[in-house]
């Protein structure tokens, strides 16, 4: 039977968690847990195969932003939240402008 285990982190007095703070904390811990416990740690094998084929592999966590309106969809990634959202904003601006042949 699975036992739910949690980690408590005491916050400094008067510190209010914003939505972004909460998202960051959840994502960070999810990443840690995934790296440690991911089934078969298949990613290690994938990485090794790529390196055996001569690829120099680098990986890391990144921000991902997406925007959806009706059937229009855009997404972008970035090393900062600002970069990811700016990327989406640029793509959306193109689509909003309207296009003709």
């Amino acid at each position: 039977m699975l036992t739910r285990r949690t980690l408590e982190v005491p916050l400094p007095e008067r510190m209010e968690l914003s939505g972004a703070d909460r998202e960051l904390l959840v994502a960070t811990f999810q990443a840690l847990v995934a790296l440690r416990c991911e089934k078969d740690r298949r990613w290690e094998l994938t990485q090794k195969q790529l390196e055996d084929d001569g690829w120099k592999v680098r990986w890391g966590l990144t921000w991902r932003a997406e925007a959806k309106r009706g059937e229009d969809y855009e997404e972008a990634t970035g090393t900062t939240l600002d970069e990811a959202l700016a990327g989406v904003a640029q793509l959306v601006r193109f689509d909003m402008a309207g296009r003709g042949p």
């Binding site: 640029q90 793509l91 601006r93 193109f94 402008a97 309207g98 296009r99 003709g100 042949p101």
Partner: protein, 418 residues
């Protein structure tokens, strides 16, 4: 033996999407033209209806060369001399002497160092950014650039950024913001296809020279007729030879069939010859189009009569529309949008004009921004004054029917909504 039961995927989702497009009034229907392209054409619309003769005010046949007898003769001769197909990509056994000749002629015509042919300008725009730029670079595009440029930018690993349409102050901010990048490439159309306005290339080049950035211009709606000798927007703004990359099409003024090119700095073109995927993985132009395009270059280099006539036609047509009380976008190109703002109104006016014997198309969202519906009229050097006089008569009759003559934008919007 019993036939095997096939589990075919259901296409209900696609049917539903098609229905949505129809319900939104955005379903595109082709109109069948019987015979060659020209100012007067036989159009079958709706499908199955008897073809009727209409005046064509919506083609990109700016110089009237699409069915020019000299061009057709050159195409026949090219076919006889060089054969039909090459059955190979360029770098294996698909390059003929006439491909080299056309590339050299285009470089001379456009005032550039080198040129590479593509099956279309869409292919050229899809190829260039991915081939030349890397993740160390940034592409800074005018927000109204052509859809094929947007697609090309999406294929590249370089960072994407934009500046407000025609806003040089905003462009300079962006050039400063990205000063740390290896290459900054400023990307613009020469003539913007929906409004017909021109990029301020003299100011863009000055800014790029000051900041050490590259300039890219898609001159598809300009090559052959903008500028005193038709060399395009770089000639119009006195910056011939200062543009790093020009892309253009042979599918509009330069014969109107298909094909396009990347033309510019030798190193950029050479790199595209090594890396551009549409060049590496598909055949190039057939001898028919190459020979015809060479003839077109002969014609436009020998005389400015056609581009001069086109300039006059555009001026005259603008004058007629303004005098009649239509709300038009001012400008100097042969693209003259008649603003109607409301999508249904644009469709209704286009339909009534067709009934009057005038072939135009209503454009509305998502082809143009919401609330900017219009009819885009396009002039040709082959239009006669008599044809334009007849066309304005039809426009006035339809304009009166909808009570839009002499009305401001606000009055039209008040009556028909956005």
């Amino acid at each position: 033996m019993a036939p095997e039961t096939l589990a075919l995927p259901s296409l209900d989702v696609l049917r539903s999407e098609l229905e949505s497009i129809r319900a939104a009034g955005l379903y595109k229907e082709e109109r069948y033209i019987h015979g060659p392209q020209g100012t007067e054409i036989l159009v079958e619309f709706p499908a199955g209806a008897p073809p009727r003769k209409v005046l064509n005010l919506c083609a990109n046949n700016y110089l009237g060369l699409s069915s020019h007898p000299d061009v057709i003769r050159a195409a026949h001769e090219g076919l006889d001399r060089s054969g039909y197909g090459m059955s190979s990509v360029r770098f294996i056994c698909g390059t003929q002497d006439i491909h080299r000749e056309l590339e050299e002629r285009l470089s001379a015509f456009l005032g550039t160092e080198a040129t590479l042919l593509f099956s279309s300008c869409l292919d050229a725009n899809a190829a260039i950014f991915e081939a030349v730029l890397s993740d160390k670079d940034v592409m800074i595009a005018d927000r109204l650039v052509h859809a094929s440029i947007v697609d090309g930018m999406r294929l590249a690993k370089a960072m994407t950024d934009t500046y407000k349409h025609g806003d040089m102050g905003h462009l300079e901010e962006k050039l400063k913001e990205h000063a740390d990048k290896r290459f900054r490439m400023v990307i613009t159309d020469g003539v913007f296809s929906m409004d017909g306005d021109l990029a301020k290339l003299d100011e863009i080049v000055a800014l790029c020279e000051r900041h050490g950035a590259m300039v890219f211009v898609d001159d598809s709606h300009a090559s052959g007729f903008i500028g005193k000798t038709g060399r395009g927007t770089p000639e119009r703004f006195g910056v011939l030879g200062k543009i790093d990359v020009v892309t253009t099409t042979f599918g509009k003024a330069l014969g109107g069939a298909s094909g396009g090119c990347i033309s510019g700095r030798k190193e950029i073109v050479d790199l595209c010859r090594q890396r551009a995927r549409p060049y590496l993985f598909s055949n190039t132009l057939s001898s028919v189009i190459v020979a015809a395009t060479l003839k077109v270059l002969d014609l436009v280099s020998a005389s400015t009569a056609r581009r001069d006539q086109l300039e006059w036609n555009a001026w005259y047509w603008r004058k007629l529309l303004s005098a009649a009380g239509f709300d038009i976008k001012e400008g100097e190109s042969p693209i003259v949008p008649v603003m109607l703002y409301n999508a249904k109104l644009a469709q209704d006016v286009a339909r009534d004009l067709f009934a009057e014997g005038i072939y135009v198309v209503g454009f509305f969202f998502p082809v143009v921004p919401k609330g900017q519906a219009r009819i885009r009229t396009q002039l040709s050097a082959a239009h006669t004054k008599e044809q334009l006089d007849a066309a304005i008569g039809a426009f006035v009759r339809v304009g009166r029917k909808y009570d839009i003559l002499g009305r401001t934008k606000n009055e039209i919007v008040e009556k028909y909504g956005l």
